[in-house]
């Protein structure tokens, strides 16, 4: 199972805890993980990727294994640690403070 960590506002929207587990068939890429996330939690459609353009929302970043994958191709394979479930895939919101 793929582990995905969501930002707090999306946990509330989806009614889940900090982390969700997803089954992903085939190659484990950012696209396949995000597709599985939106299929399992349809209320998240449009909140991580724009509904129309399917692009990453600009104030969100995608991390895995202490690396920023936000600018990688969505079709590149994610690290084996993510594919095996040892490490989570993190969707992180830009910090807002003052």
């Amino acid at each position: 199972m793929i582990r995905v960590v969501l930002p707090a506002n999306l946990r509330t929207l989806a009614g889940v805890g900090r982390e969700v587990e997803l089954r992903v068939d085939g190659n484990v890429t950012q696209r396949s993980v995000l597709d599985a996330l939106e299929a399992e939690y349809p209320m998240l459609r449009g909140t991580v990727r724009d509904s129309v353009t399917k692009k990453r929302r600009p104030l969100l970043r995608f991390y895995a294994c202490e690396e920023d994958h936000s600018e990688d191709s969505l079709d590149d394979p994610l690290p084996a640690e993510v594919a095996s479930g040892r490490e989570p895939y993190l969707i992180v919101g830009a910090i807002a403070g003052g």
């Binding site: 930002p7 506002n9 929207l13 459609r45 909140t47 129309v52 929302r57 104030l59 969100l60």
Partner: protein, 371 residues
């Protein structure tokens, strides 16, 4: 016993407030959608338990919520707002051409006859319609694709379509308003639109009398008299008696004619309410005094309503969708402030009290009168 339900959208969530016809004791529920902007909530006039809420955040985009039990529970609905056909451009702040792109919903206007039909006014300026209770959305592109739309430029608040009025008599007639673009009318249920701006004069424009570019902040109509519209423009309070064919100024003795909200008494079509704001550079009430102004003559002659409102050290704003009236026998008037207060008057404005004092900044106030 009749009661009222007040729907309040704020910068950090939504609140639902209920009271009986005395409007003295209030039950406040929320925050719903905590941490999110709720630009607007509105209810179907034919199914009062059917509510729509526009939930958004810069990080996560737009979420549309629907309640079928009067706001007790909510369900996320469809949030795909796709512009129809070729996407045209509008002017950006540097005068470059910028493609229309969906940012958020500013206003929901449910159909007068079908609880599953609802219109959404959005930024960048466009009008969408759902006929399946907000599951799916289809643009009515006529307003975005008219000839002048490529020349529209956003104001500081964004290029938003914020006002939608459905004519209760002429079923195919609609009115809409867009910041920094103007007011528009459709006679064919939203397919085609024409500007209704004759008589508007805006010194902030190169040509103050141009057909488009006027920054309309809000339009209000009394349902018994749909040819008469009242407008709070960026500066100037205006009135038309012919559905927008010609406007005339009714600012009269107001201390300032800048402001955002405007509304009409539910039983007296010539009784109008505004809340003057000092200026477009100082977005707060003048002289530290929060005053609602009421005209019982359809404009020009205004009286300050102050009883129960702070009359010193008050520097709040009241945003365009943050005033509403109920239809109880003694008309109730409601408004919310950027300071987080929601005020009610159960006597048509003569006296006021705060329902709540410390909410997040209020974006919108809507009220339902329930039997």
């Amino acid at each position: 016993m009749p009661k009222v339900r007040v729907l309040v959208g704020t910068h950090k969530g939504a609140f639902v407030m209920t009271s009986d016809e005395r409007r003295k004791e209030w039950k406040v529920e929320g925050p719903h959608f905590a941490g999110w902007d709720v630009y607007h909530m509105n209810a179907s006039p034919v199914d009062p338990d059917r509510l729509y809420a526009a939930q958004s955040r810069g990080w996560f985009g737009q979420v549309v919520q629907r309640s079928d039990d009067g706001g007790k529970t909510w369900q996320p609905m469809g949030n795909e707002f796709k512009y129809e056909g070729k996407v045209n451009t509008h002017k950006w702040y540097d005068n470059s051409d910028h493609p229309y792109e969906f940012l958020r919903v500013w206003h929901f206007e449910p159909s007068l006859s079908d609880p599953d039909t609802v219109y959404a006014g959005v930024e960048d300026a466009a009008l969408f319609k759902s006929t399946d209770g907000a599951k799916t959305w289809e643009e009515l592109p006529g307003i975005r694709t008219q000839e002048s739309a490529s020349s529209w430029a956003p104001g500081a608040g964004g290029l938003c379509l914020h006002t939608i009025i459905l004519d209760p008599v002429k079923k195919d007639r609609m009115f809409a308003a867009i910041s920094s673009a103007g007011a528009f009318r459709s006679e064919d249920a939203g397919k085609t639109w024409k500007p209704i701006t004759k008589g508007l004069h805006s010194e902030i424009m190169p040509d103050p009398d141009a057909e488009v570019g006027h920054c309309v902040h809000r339009i209000a109509m009394h349902p018994s008299r749909p040819n008469v519209l009242f407008m709070q423009k960026h500066w100037d309070v205006m009135r038309t008696d012919n559905a927008g064919d010609m406007w005339h100024e009714i600012s009269g003795n107001l201390p300032t004619d800048f402001g955002f909200v405007i509304d009409v008494h539910s039983h007296e079509p010539d009784t109008v309410y505004v809340i003057p704001i000092k200026s477009d550079s100082d977005h707060f009430v003048p002289d530290g005094k929060l005053r609602v102004y009421r005209s019982k003559t359809g404009g020009n002659e205004w009286e300050a309503l102050t009883k129960g409102l702070p009359q010193k050290d008050c520097y709040v704003n009241v945003l365009r969708d943050a005033m509403a009236v109920d239809s109880l026998e003694s008309c109730g008037v409601y408004f919310g402030t950027t300071g987080g207060q929601v005020y009610v008057s159960a006597d048509a404005g003569d006296s006021w009290s705060a329902i709540v004092n410390n909410l997040p900044s209020v974006l919108s106030v809507q009220v339902q009168t329930l039997s």
